[in-house]
Symmetry: D2
Subunit: 365 residues, 4 copies
């Protein structure tokens, strides 16, 4: 007698197969999927550091940083203080042979201003446990850490956040002194367009993280945690460090990619192949689009020559290119013209605060 149902279905739930997120590389760089803001029981998180490695393995991440709060936290009375380096040590040991890079980090936790920041690529987190926050930032800088401001638009009153998202004099000072290199423009499910603008203006690196505290739920197909895409020369800690300081990142949130237009454009072009052919109808061209990535693209037409007819019924519903799919649409060239521009916006590729990326496909008969 055999009862198979539960056994079989249970397997995928409990198993730990390596996940995979298919996003194209850029020329000269590999695209690494990274989460640089993660908590464990060693601050106010709810899981042991090894769980964070298991989750990253299952989800297909390349690098994580466990960034427990350096200052007193909810669980503190129950945890024997060994060192602020301890959660890193536990995770790093668990990550052996998984291919996952674990980066030593910590969260410098103060009321606003300057709020919370993460310092990663630390050599000794304990050195950052200082009464004066400037001393903590200085210690991080001394260790050649990459420092970024967390959730600048947090709505949490308890951390002294105001009712608007502001750039404070304290951040200007940190930036000036070389102790602020990036900002979370995405934290958890939230996007901060003001911070996106600051990154563009002040040449700061755009970062997006989960800030997860509870166990990470098993992702449904097509779902993923918020993460930073790092365009690195190789899959090594050193290469990630270099890429972060050179601002070679984008942020992946739900179906959005947020970042500098040059990276978004190259990602789009490396993900999608176009083929344009004549059809039996005199004026008509058939466009075949092949999406070789796990990304989704939502297109809407923009201003264009009215003699180029395409996306006729695209208004509230965009033209969606599904992941790993091959699709077609038609373009008609009227009044005898033999070529034209198919202009559209990729609505979910956010190249400026709250704005999609413009793109043009040139077609010719």
């Amino acid at each position: 007698m055999s009862f198979f149902l539960a056994v079989c279905i249970a397997l995928p739930l409990f198993s730990q197969a390596r996940g995979k997120i298919d996003i194209p590389d850029l020329k000269g760089y590999v695209t690494l999927k990274c989460d640089f803001h993660i908590h464990t029981v060693f601050s106010d998180g709810k899981v042991w550091p090894t769980v964070r490695v298991d989750e990253a393995y299952r989800e297909g991440l390349d690098a994580i940083s466990i960034t427990d709060h350096i200052e007193g936290t909810r669980n503190k009375s129950n945890i024997l203080f060994i060192s602020h380096n301890h959660s890193y040590n536990v995770a790093e040991f668990a990550a052996k042979n998984t291919g996952i890079i674990v980066i030593k980090g910590g969260e410098i936790t103060r009321s606003m201003p300057p709020g919370h920041s993460n310092a990663i690529f630390l050599t000794d987190v304990d050195e950052l446990d200082k009464p004066d926050y400037m001393d903590a930032y200085r210690a991080a800088k001394t260790q050649n850490a990459f420092i970024f401001w967390n959730h600048p638009g947090s709505e949490s009153k308890s951390f002294g956040q105001p009712d608007t998202t502001l750039w404070w004099p304290e951040h200007a000072k940190l930036l000036e002194q070389g102790m602020l290199h990036g900002i979370e423009i995405v934290n958890g499910g939230k996007y901060f367009p003001e911070a996106h603008q600051w990154c563009l203006e002040k040449k700061l690196t755009m970062i997006g993280n989960s800030d997860v505290h509870a166990p990470m739920p098993v992702a449904a197909p097509g779902m993923h945690r918020p993460m930073t895409l790092v365009f690195a020369r190789s899959a090594t800690p050193e290469a990630i460090h270099e890429a972060l300081f050179e601002r070679r990142t984008a942020v992946y949130l739900n179906e959005f990619i947020i970042g500098e237009e040059k990276y978004l454009k190259e990602l789009f072009e490396n993900a999608v192949e176009w083929k344009i052919e004549k059809t039996d109808l005199k004026e008509e061209l058939l466009v075949t689009v092949r999406n070789k990535s796990d990304l989704t693209f939502h297109l809407k037409k923009t201003n264009h020559d009215p003699r180029v007819v395409y996306f006729r019924n695209i208004s509230i519903i965009p033209y969606t290119i599904a992941p790993q799919a091959t699709q077609t649409f038609t373009v008609r060239l009227l009044d005898g013209i033999s070529s034209g521009d198919v202009n559209f916006i990729v609505e979910n590729f956010i190249s400026e605060p709250n704005k999609g990326m413009k793109y043009t496909i040139k077609v010719r008969k």
Copy 2:
């Protein structure tokens, strides 16, 4: 020895449990879920009429109309002509004891203009099989049919569709002679904002249908075919007929409801309950929203008194009220004000062409 996996999983696939779509009723009216544009093998569809009843039963529809093309169609050479009423007769017999209303209909199929129209609530479809299309419309009118123009923005060149969505003199004439009562503003997955505008201006009934030809796939949870919501005095053919002529409809497409603002507003108010309470923070109110329906609502804030602070980080991602869920958000009243307006747009409730519905919640300490 027993092998249960396949058996158990197979059941939901093959079974025919009655579906349910939970959308609120309006005051004095029941909300009926209807599809008035469906094909079978008796024109160019791919299934026997009984399958259409099975699908409607499984999906939770209240009424369907099988509207096979009256004129020559692809399958014609294989089907023994009995009568254009035959597909209705087969479906109507299968619908006994299911609670599904089957309405006799047919599609008057001509090149543009005037394109295709459906006539439903016919008594004898055969009377519409006339060489001159005006004779077909007149026969439908004589039978007191409800007549609507199908897919006015179709991109199909073979039916003589132009490259823009146009209102032709032929439609003006049909309207003038009382032979055009509604338009499909939704057909399949497509929405036609021009037709939406015409319905508002010319007092035509807004209709949305699947126009399904192949077998209807089993819907994933939360998915549904495009349909017309009819606000009828009762679940009877007569009440649907009256409601259609009185333009008491809305269209349900993906997560959109499209229709007149008065119906959308009442649907929203009957679906959602608000509770507003003080919190421990002096200036703060906690808003609890309970969604008693299967609908989803996507809210974005609009112009408002800057002293009323809410939806802080809503920009590219809206505030989403999930189906059958209870959720909360906070509102802060600054500068000592004791009440204010929470203004937002329900992005997926389309009350004007391509525009969401505005709404305001008044809050008070």
Copy 3:
């Protein structure tokens, strides 16, 4: 611009709606779903105790006991020892207003013999931290604890388990001295038929638990963790304590219910309703079976009067009654007999070690 996909799908993953497992009550008793073997970071588990309450809430459990190892465990060097009661205190505080009963417990962890045992309904776990295991059991008994032997057929060599599942003199002694009240016949996904037999012979309570260490994965629909069903006079700690000592339990593992026949029979009869009617065929009866529970039943016919014909093609595939379903099958009474017995075995109701429960439906024309 709005990107809904991820937001909407994410909600069910992260939300904490109360789960529900629909298993019938017995006459005079409510059926409580309980897991009495759970670990946290306070021994060698991987999550904070509050996570165990969240999981139980999501899965629809009524009672849990956190039973961290009392003796030295892997995480010990990192956890500040406050008290063995601490994980209970943290979970119990989190469970307020959830309706979940948290029972204070601990795991007495020794090599075989006697192996591991859980003591639950303790008043002070610290009292069990004794060098001599008999002192620990005595302390548990003094506190009126319910004590059960864990995973008697564990294959773990490191705990001194032999290559067969044995009842040792040490267990006989514990039983004799009133310090052994039950046995895990199920631990994790494993079932121990030897222990099932011992429970029947020695009048011990049958227990089944998850023994979970990692975060509990979100269960797929129809999936559940291994658990003990407790038939209690009410949903209170006192009633669970009484029911455990009175051996009113069964074990729920995958699609199996394992336990004493009297409980299995009543569960089956309270879950399933039968209706027997004549059909148009002279010799035929139509049996309609309605399953009002979330349980599945797999039936196979057993020896019977050959003039009673039913389940014709049931051999490797059983006759399966799906959860919450209404199904039919036919019975034919040949040679003019007017009544007969439909004999079958419910293969997944295990009333004796490795054996399904026999059952008979009497039919009459």
Copy 4:
């Protein structure tokens, strides 16, 4: 404004990506997935023949035969009789460029005896439309058709089926005259062990088919329709014809493979790779099993040398090898023996009526 949820989720439902069922080939033969019993509106089925090709494409089948009833059927009054070859012609045209082989067939439909049979690889189905069933079989034989008896254990009284599954003199006669080559041992979800036995004894080909009439539901992951696996020299109609006459088939039903032991054994061996290594424990071996197929295997241990210890807690729950998975288990060799036999039964590989296939893995330190 963009509403993505429904659009994205809708795509996989409506799309027609080519399916794939990963079952190993045998030495010298490709394993073709075939369904030789399918209905359309041209008898009592509910869909147009093209739908059958779409379904086969989506599910990953290699060959289908549309086998409409040759004799009068329910839909007949509505279908213009052209020819019994017509449903084949429609399907065959639709299958161009799909890679799906469509085989011309028909169902000879009589009351029992001899009941229903399918004749496939016909050249002209119309020739089988004869009043005397023997004339129909003779016509099929003349065309070099492969003829098999359908659902020999059907419970349908209307076709004159008795209350037991019997081999009638009529079948003996057909066999003797070379007009019966195989039997459906599986039809729909049903398995007929008596027919399995007859195939073994009388050297008949084992066939399993869906006998689908309604639209085929979209299969959940891991689900598939009942089908015949044909071990053919190539993926051509001629090779399938040859393989069927040479009895190189097995039947795939839910998680079962049913067939001759030699084929089942080779399928198992080509699907599964074993690696046996020493562990740190003196007596222990670690067995790693890699399943390269979509098949599931359920193992239970059988009689064996008690000094070879494995599958300790396998009783009501088998040891399950999941599809496309790599798993491990341990074997212990006691009393200093250095090799031994791991004996088990593959419960869902049915090599004799109602019996699983025996297998042995030899292990050595």
